[in-house]
């Protein structure tokens, strides 16, 4: 259990933090950026602006254009070919459909031409498919046939879930990682460089007590920051957390603990403030990309999935997401929860085992 020394030291670290106005400002600034990111990602996609040049002016082409206009993903602009082409090059429109003069004779139908900027491949696919669907329904009308197949989308989860609901747990985990590693790693390097740690080390304090107390203080700070972001997300962006808050916060606390300990370990590796930045980048950057913060890990190549799943950030992200999106309880001890617990152990052991009090003598 916590000793009175650990509590006293934690209080001292909180006091140091609260007296540092710059740190407080920075700590508020950080979550605010995240809230900004939330609110932007919450809006639905804007429709694609597509240019149409109709050279045939036939009933077919009119039918086709009316059909396209009904597609929600398109915003059509009609105009002459030259001006629309330059709009496309300048990036004002996403694509340009040219309906040729001979788009009227059913036996000799001229091919439609679709001009795009090929660097936007992902969007091109979506647009192309929508155009083909429109063409298909025009064709059916002409040939007077009913569609044979019908596809109806059913949400099995039976609850409204948007990308933002998926994203929030990921972003929170990402925030936990950044705030925690910065909170422990950067501080520790500075304390060591200035000889403050060495001064502590000549007293009978043990690394375990020192680390526990910084972790306690930092954890409180991170929890406050996180709660600010979470409450704004809940009330402003109308996010729902399906699982219990107890499970959610338990995971948040363990996640914070993991990254604080990793911060300590990194802080022991680095000798200077300049030295720790690239080391922290090396550890955090790949995790941000790989750990399913922005998209599900299952969409990655199967061969890397086992490695990716075993990253600390992945465990925390998956755990938080299970609780927030699927209502899984912490006490269910799912694979990702167990992953979190394993990382708690690993990170504490490396943080205390390799803790360096003073700079190595030259």
């Amino acid at each position: 259990m916590l000793t009175s020394l650990q509590l006293h030291l934690a209080g001292v670290f909180l006091k140091i933090f609260l007296r540092n106005r710059q740190a407080i400002l920075f700590s508020l600034f950080f979550p605010l950026i995240f809230i900004g990111a939330f609110s932007f990602s919450g809006t639905s996609n804007d429709p694609f602006i597509i240019g149409v040049t109709d050279e045939s002016r036939s009933p077919f082409s009119q039918e086709f254009i009316t059909n396209l206009e009904q597609e929600e993903i398109f915003n059509l602009i009609e105009g002459d070919f030259e001006s629309l082409q330059s709009s496309l090059i300048e990036g004002d429109i996403r694509g340009l459909i040219l309906i040729p003069k001979n788009f009227k004779d059913i036996d000799n139908l001229g091919a439609l031409k679709f001009y795009v900027d090929a660097s936007q491949t992902r969007q091109v696919n979506i647009i192309q498919r929508a155009i083909e669907t429109s063409l298909l329904s025009v064709e059916r009308k002409i040939r007077n046939i009913e569609p044979l197949f019908n596809l109806q989308l059913e949400d099995v989860k039976a609850r409204p879930q948007r990308y933002i609901d998926f994203l929030l747990p990921g972003l929170l985990a990402f925030m936990i990682m950044n705030l925690s590693i910065a909170g422990s790693g950067f501080n520790i390097v500075e304390y060591r460089r200035r000889g403050i740690l060495k001064r502590l080390f000549v007293t009978p304090i043990k690394p375990k007590d020192f680390i526990t107390s910084i972790v306690l203080a930092r954890m409180l700070i991170v929890l406050v920051q996180l709660s600010v972001v979470l409450s704004i997300a809940l009330f402003v962006l109308d996010i729902t957390i399906i699982g219990s808050y107890l499970s959610f916060y338990l995971t948040v606390i363990l996640g914070t603990f993991i990254f604080l300990c990793i911060g300590f370990a990194l802080g022991s590796l680095a000798k200077t403030q300049e030295g720790i930045r690239p080391i922290v980048g090396l550890v955090t950057f790949p995790q941000v990309i790989l750990s399913g913060v922005f998209f599900p890990i299952s969409s990655m190549p199967e061969i890397v999935q086992p490695i990716v799943y075993s990253l600390p950030l992945s465990s925390v992200v998956s755990s938080l997401r299970e609780i927030a999106n699927d209502g899984v309880s912490f006490m269910a001890f799912s694979t990702s929860t167990i992953g979190v617990l394993i990382w708690v152990l690993i990170s504490f052991v490396i943080a205390t085992r390799f803790f360096v009090w003073k700079e190595v003598a030259k």
Partner: protein
């Protein structure tokens, strides 16, 4: 009675430049009696600080042993730390804490409740009780770090070059403080390269060079033995130069 015993103490480092092992401390032995001031004299790089850090439990001991009040440093460093007070060469503290808060914090590390006011009175800083260390002058800072080293009422007080960088007034003021502490019963071990300091304060000195103790004794005895200069009244500086040579140490 010997409160501190050092026998055949050794420490080697790998030099980052030559990649060769060199002996920073090369088998030194000495004893410290209670209520004594013992000084280690030596040029830069002689191994003074390394010796102190090994006794303080800051640096692992490669060979030999050190005991403080009968407790072996290698086998029970935490028990030794509990009974010693240490002032390091660098004395930086956590930001934005007052002297009082820092002293209370250091007391906690030993499991004590600290009377910050009484300690600051001892080092003549009581009017600075709410000041922060960065607001203190050089001499005040040194006195404050001695106050920090006294929070656990140590059996031995270690001072590493306590007066380096101080102006003459501050230096003499600190000497007075060290003498007072000694007169009130404190055993003190200090390192210095200031010969006047050693002569003024120390009952016994050891002169270290290249990791070895090359002479040990009372300052007066050493002067009598080694001072070959023509001066009427000999001094420890001449002894030092005679023993360590006059070339520069980098």
């Amino acid at each position: 009675m010997d409160i501190l015993k050092v026998e055949d103490l050794q420490k080697s480092y790998v030099s980052p430049e030559t990649k060769e092992n060199f002996k920073a401390v090369d088998g030194i032995s000495f004893c410290l009696q209670e209520i004594q001031i013992y000084g280690i004299l030596g040029p830069n790089g002689a191994g003074k600080t390394t010796t102190l850090e090994m006794i303080e439990g800051l640096t692992d001991i490669d060979g030999g042993c050190a005991t403080v009040d009968g407790v072996d440093v290698s086998s029970d460093p935490y028990a030794v730390k509990q009974i010693i007070g240490v002032q390091l060469q660098s004395n930086e503290y956590f930001d934005s804490l007052s002297l009082e808060e820092l002293l209370k914090l250091f007391g906690k590390l030993y499991g004590n409740e600290t009377n910050a006011k009484a300690l600051l009175e001892k080092v003549d800083l009581v009017e600075k009780i709410h000041a922060k260390p960065e607001e203190l002058s050089g001499g005040q800072k040194q006195r404050f770090s001695i106050a920090c080293a006294l929070v656990n009422e140590p059996k031995v007080l270690f001072l590493d070059e306590p007066t380096t960088g101080l102006d003459p007034q501050a230096k003499h003021n600190l000497w007075d403080l060290i003498k007072e502490l000694n007169q009130s019963g404190m055993t003190i071990m200090l390192t210095t390269h200031n010969m006047e300091e050693a002569e003024t304060l120390c009952h016994n000195v050891a002169i270290m060079n290249k990791g070895k103790i090359i002479a040990e004794g009372k300052p007066d005895d050493l002067i009598e033995k080694y001072d070959t200069s023509e001066d009427e009244k000999g001094n420890l500086e001449n002894v030092f130069l005679y023993l360590t040579g006059k070339e520069l140490f980098d």
